[in-house]
Symmetry: C2
Amino acid sequence: MASNTQLKRVLVTGGLGYIGSHVVLTLLLSGRYLPIVIDNCHNAFPEAVNRCAEIARDEMGSDAPQPIFHKVDLRNPAEIDAVFDKYQTDGGIWGVVHLAALKAVGESSEIPLSYYQVNVGGSMSLLQSMAKYGCNVFVFSSSATVYGIPEVIPIPERSLVKAESTYGRTKAMVEDIIHDVCLSGTMEEPRKEPLKAVSVRYFNPAGAHPSGKLGEEPRGKPGNLLPLLAQMAVGREKSDLKVFGNDYPGSPDGTCVRDYLHIMDLAQGHVLALDAIAVPADQPNIFDKCDPSVDGYFRAFNLGRGKGQSVLTMIEAMRKATGFDYKYEIVGRRVGDVPDLTADPALAEKELGFVAKRDLPEMCRDLWNFQTKNPNGYEPTANGA
Amino acid sequence: MASNTQLKRVLVTGGLGYIGSHVVLTLLLSGRYLPIVIDNCHNAFPEAVNRCAEIARDEMGSDAPQPIFHKVDLRNPAEIDAVFDKYQTDGGIWGVVHLAALKAVGESSEIPLSYYQVNVGGSMSLLQSMAKYGCNVFVFSSSATVYGIPEVIPIPERSLVKAESTYGRTKAMVEDIIHDVCLSGTMEEPRKEPLKAVSVRYFNPAGAHPSGKLGEEPRGKPGNLLPLLAQMAVGREKSDLKVFGNDYPGSPDGTCVRDYLHIMDLAQGHVLALDAIAVPADQPNIFDKCDPSVDGYFRAFNLGRGKGQSVLTMIEAMRKATGFDYKYEIVGRRVGDVPDLTADPALAEKELGFVAKRDLPEMCRDLWNFQTKNPNGYEPTANGA
């Protein structure tokens, strides 16, 4: 296996979070990338890095690559620079996977300025540090919410980007900023190579690593449906289950429809995006079809399965996995929610080789496995820091 | 006349610039507002404040209100806070007119990250300080470029916002951010009153104060057509005159069409916007027709004349005003330029009472008057600092 010095260093922002930690793990398991994790621990725990390291050792042996964690807040540009600076004399950071963000659609309409400052401001500072340190490989954690209320289901990437929520707007704005930076090529000092970027538009991640050692572990009450269902089944979360709206047209039961994909599939999508950017310019690559004056080296891909599931379908799937008899209340629609977000996954399959293979029962099984093994969330493992 | 203590303090960001300085002057002349000017002097000179003060004394006498200048860079939030803090114990800053921005369409595609950091990041920091210090009145300097390539000419405010340049995108993003902050009401701490905001979408300002003491005085070569023509006529600018594209459809001569309005009319639009926001909630006001759940207290108005002028028309108008025989070269289109930006000014007239009365010969005459009186730009006046 490759020693750490042969691996490409990849900065993973928000690398302690649900998606981030599974990306970190998948980077380790790839044998090609060494994750440098940064996170401000706002909604995540440093223990996630230890769990990634443990699983990597379980699967790859004692010389498995080990992730490195630095506590950094993207709102402080000097902290970002310090991380780039630390590795600069030793080959530098090759690429960035940028996941750090505030992510609750409902909350985003209540504290919009915080969302813009963290998500948009943080991304600007990160891009500035990348330019300063000559780092030109960027994978951005975007969202299906950038499509707003899409005109066509399943949603192709060429759909109009017109977000309906503050959260979605922060993601759409960052895509625009990245795109403009890509288009500017090398004109903005001190950049010497044009930025190459892939925006991955997530549909709904679910599940956990099958080991049960890594999963979704938010601080406080979960904001997303599946971890809430898991915490209810394990007896940790006692609050009422509310279903926001059952009068959405086009849904089999009137509840919102989302395209769930397994978190390990989603994480793999990031590795495929990095792989795609790493292809040398003289070989066929994902930027071949870009018009340099219109696109720059910028591509956007959906990461989804192309299979829509209603809220009630998900509750039923979790009932089967957990045996828990969920009681729920139908309440009014929630501001910013969109009736149906189901991906057209064809482009990502064709160009990245991305296929989300794991099905809904597997997502629920792995989520429940994580929840039962960690009923109170992450606690330090024997070798944890 | 009102003493300074009875005037509403209005922070004017970018208040030394071409538009900013005429806004500052118009605030002084209104007898209702006291401008607190902040600027980083990137593309402007502190002398502009002295000129404003001088004209105010000329017109209002020795007890005319006097503007106050603080050198502040919006990229440094602590500097913004310090200004709010300075006045907080003495009634505070009542409202903000936010003009500070990088503004060259062409340059914005070359150094996009700088444009986003200054225009979007700076606005976020300003809004944060306003929330912190309980300042809830906001007039934002937006631009006709937010309409991109408009579907209808003249352009009504309800047109789709879809900017075609980085510069235009920075303005559209800030409008979205302001709008979301307005919508959030008082949920985001420490705000106690909901933000009330008007976005004024400028078409093309031209001319100068008729005294010849205040005008457009950029650092270095002018980026806009009219000051370039004025500097050529006075012998200060020797470079070639380039007309970017003469094959735009719908134009009388194929060159780009813009809606020029006199800078003193444009400045008056800002005072009218502040006046409109100041109307008590129990009287008919511009927010009456807002749906609180869709708009918040947010309105956008065009500031233009509704009369499109081609580039060649403007060159001819300046020839008449200056007597200078302009030689120009037709070159290719410039990235980000839009064929026609002519305002539908009806909404601003109806709701703000805004009418841009001064015509094209008056714009050219006042510009030329300023240029001939200041052939080398601003030099300190006898009482200047």
